[in-house]
């Protein structure tokens, strides 16, 4: 179990976090290979459906990342998103998904290092939680 690596879906905004991930790559900063990246035009595009569908598919965790407040390419996308994130996190955790399964971050295009740190932290958090088991247990049609 000790070398188990979680599978994490990452929804990254095109303008900042995706570029940040790119920078981390070209700068050859080491971070865990746990992410499956989905590029979105803006973190404001994140619908709870995307996150819950990822959990339904059995992913061990979800990371959503966008531009820092004030830096949104579309001016206010991430501000609106931030409110949504709070509700998503609250409801998902209330439903019984462990805190840490779904995480959010702001990473700018210049923060390659921060991106790597975020991935490392999220990966470690989810590693501690262990593999997703909620949905695996639920999948039972009579």
């Amino acid at each position: 179990m000790s070398d188990w690596q979680p599978r994490i879906i990452a929804f990254l905004c095109n303008w900042c976090s995706y570029a940040g991930a790119d920078l981390a790559g070209v700068s050859r900063i080491q971070y865990p290979p746990t992410l499956r990246v989905v590029r979105l035009p803006c973190s404001g595009r994140v619908d709870p459906l995307l996150i819950l569908r990822a959990l339904r598919e059995g992913y061990d965790g979800v990371l959503v990342s966008g531009c820092h407040p004030g830096d949104c390419h579309y001016l206010s996308g991430n501000y609106v998103a931030r409110r949504k994130f709070a509700v998503i996190k609250a409801v998902v955790e209330h439903l019984g998904f462990e805190p840490g399964r779904v995480q959010f971050s702001w990473v700018s295009a210049g923060e390659g290092e921060k991106f790597a740190n975020v991935v490392a932290k999220v990966t470690e958090d989810i590693r501690k939680l262990g593999p997703a088991r909620r949905m695996a247990a639920a999948e039972q049609v009579k």
Partner: protein, 327 residues
């Protein structure tokens, strides 16, 4: 002194007779004890059927957006002027629909009626041990319930919808007419007590609770269809490309259906409890919905349907919204 029903009939009669409203949507006596039926009154002569009491649980604002009349191809239907007999939560839902651009303010007349709480048929059933209720008479804070071989007195608070017990808006905060002065809300209970109790438990305990609740779900979508805020032309759960979740009663799929519906109605839900009362199998949908409401209230200070000026909580933002959870 005229009864509440008489006053609201007078009001409806006046609006119809003067041509201020094309239709009055209200409640009429139902065919079962403690059940009312939504009714659509189009002429002054028909107002006699209108009632308002503890049985009027449907949120009538739903009918402002259900089966929206469609005009001929290319032209909008002529909007009807609708007068809505609205308890607090019906009125709030109507306001929220205006705020969200679903209906025009000038096309709806909100007739406020003071609500003393509505009965939840599931709680009534529980209170009498699942026996069939054949008669029911409210008296003060009690309800005299009769059935096949039994007569019992139950406390009204025991059978009112849970949402009514913490109600803070017995009359619509925004209304055009107020049929009778506001009463004291039956509320008083801590509306988030149940949420906090669950939150105090472990994730595993919460999961077990919700799995058990949603396992009951038969996916008839009565909750969604009774909800005035569920007006999407195509619900995410009905989409097939992409198909977000499976359509079977697999608990994983049903739980996530309810979870997403709660998130989609977050900041818009007026906690009318119509979903809970509509559910034929007694799923405690509010147990999850209240968590979203709590977050919206505490974090953003927003409440749905209390003001025509306030944007929906999740369509607005403040640059200083707290973000302690974001890395």
């Amino acid at each position: 002194m005229a009864s509440l029903a008489e006053k609201l009939r007078d009001c409806a009669r006046g609006l119809l007779a003067e041509g201020k409203a094309d239709v009055v949507i209200g409640h009429a006596a139902g065919t079962l004890p403690m059940r009312s039926a939504p009714c659509f009154v189009r002429s002054a002569g028909e107002v006699e059927g209108l009632i308002f009491d503890h049985t009027c649980g449907a949120n009538l604002a739903k009918y402002l957006v259900k089966d929206k009349p469609r005009g001929k191809k290319g032209e909008a239907a002529k909007p009807e002027k609708v007068a809505l007999i609205a308890k607090g939560c019906d009125g709030r839902a109507a306001v929220q629909l205006v705020v969200e651009g679903q209906i025009a303010r000038e096309n709806v007349i909100i007739i406020g009626v003071p609500c003393r709480g509505v009965i939840d048929p599931h709680r009534l059933g529980e209170a009498v041990g699942g026996r069939e209720v054949l008669s029911c008479r409210p008296e003060g804070e009690s309800l005299f319930v009769g059935g096949d071989g039994f007569k019992e007195k139950v406390e009204l608070r025991e059978v009112l919808s849970e949402c009514c017990l913490s109600c803070r808006h017995p009359v619509p905060p925004v209304h055009d007419v107020l049929v009778e002065e506001a009463v004291e809300a039956p509320g008083g209970a801590d509306e988030f007590a149940a949420v906090e109790k669950l939150a105090a438990g472990s994730p595993d305990e919460r999961w077990a609770f919700f799995e058990r609740e949603f396992f009951k779900c038969i996916r008839c979508y009565a909750c969604r269809n009774a909800c005035p805020m569920c007006f999407c032309g195509e619900c995410f759960i009905d989409q097939n490309d992409p198909q977000w979740f499976g359509k079977s009663t697999d608990p994983g799929d049903t739980m996530l259906f309810h979870a997403v519906r709660v998130m989609h109605t977050a900041g818009r839900c007026v906690d009318c409890g119509a979903c809970v009362r509509a559910c034929p199998v007694g799923v405690d949908i509010r147990a999850l919905a209240k968590r979203a409401e709590k977050e919206v209230r505490e974090r953003f200070g927003c409440e749905a349907g209390v003001s025509l000026e306030e944007a929906p909580a999740l369509a607005a933002f403040d640059e200083d919204d707290p973000q302690e959870f974001i890395l």
